[in-house]
Symmetry: C2
Subunit: 240 residues, 2 copies
Amino acid sequence: MQKKLVEVCYTPGGYDYYKGNFEIVVVIDVLRATSAICSAIHNGVKSLIPVSTIEEAKAYQDKGYLVGAERQGQIVSGFDFGNSPYSYMKPEIKGKDIVLSTTNGTRAINIAKDAETVVIGALSNLDYLINWLKDQDKNVLCLCSGWKDKFNLEDSICGGAIAEGLLKTGKFISNEDASVAAKYLYLAAKDNYFGFLKSSSHRRRLKKLNLNEDIKFCLTPNQMEVIPILKGDRLVKLDT
Amino acid sequence: MQKKLVEVCYTPGGYDYYKGNFEIVVVIDVLRATSAICSAIHNGVKSLIPVSTIEEAKAYQDKGYLVGAERQGQIVSGFDFGNSPYSYMKPEIKGKDIVLSTTNGTRAINIAKDAETVVIGALSNLDYLINWLKDQDKNVLCLCSGWKDKFNLEDSICGGAIAEGLLKTGKFISNEDASVAAKYLYLAAKDNYFGFLKSSSHRRRLKKLNLNEDIKFCLTPNQMEVIPILKGDRLVKLDT
């Protein structure tokens, strides 16, 4: 059997280079959008509608949807919640369709939406996702959301974890240096994500906003067996 | 004394984000342009004129200059040499002005040329360069040439080495995740650059072209005490 590719793209801005060569795109925004999305779908939210702009989010709100909107790490004034995973675990949102717009993560999802399959990755669903990906026999691109089109540490480490998980099955190869580096960063970080990411710029940003509980949650791997998948314009639970 | 910044930018395409905030830009293209430039200046070449395009290189050749031109790792047909460091150590080129155009490195130099100071970094002049930088009291950006605007491992590791060298003086800080990651990659690679970079895509590319001797040379740190600096449109030896 021919080996499949697994690569890590550090930023949405870098996606053009990879576009078209990967049947599966895994969108990653560990702090906090994709961690929140996994939590929501795991906790029974029916679907999440990712939108790029606040204007789109507002339009949905006007139609009666619950809307999460975050910019610069904070809830956008006038919306129901931001992107704290804890906001998406409340019993009252079970079974609902919720709209979500975040600084980086929802933009990455929308950039990737022409791919054959778009799924959501985070540390919280890491092993479950890797286990599913390794049986698909498809080329896999881990698309990091980054921070305003710059490299970020936590997304790259999560991408490196997925790459390493697939490479060690022997069924995948990586050709790009970015993927090799992401794998090394994961191997350096894996025994202590929290400690390793002390120096991450976004962790410092969120800590200033008193979001340490969120950070701890997002950096704890393998808390849930769930894969959110994009169907049309909505993220729903993949039946595995 | 206020601490100065040291950051690592992975690609010329990412330079816009950093532009204007750093008095000193260190251009890095370990395999092989900046290693060759250090060798040339160390071995008595009077100046190197970096040009971005083959057309510019040809125009200089027509005026009688010796010209090095490399694309895709190979000497461009019709020119005197490519970017093997060994080509620039020949006694007959001492005292000469030489023109150089390479796939990535000379492009990065030209992108950075509006900075107050542009110097050339490689593993071959690593400690000597760090030692000079730490006494300048200026913000330092390590600009990696990458490979066709993608991240590459060897340049990022060299940038990480410079960042780490400056950070440990206590006189510098890094704010960006890209710099933190580059530093980690350097720490993982530093005891065995050659082994660590086995998986680098450009090393594989050059190995196919039978350039293993060049690779070994470029990955051997601290071979020379030289800093090439851009003065006008020419790289010359910095008097330290």
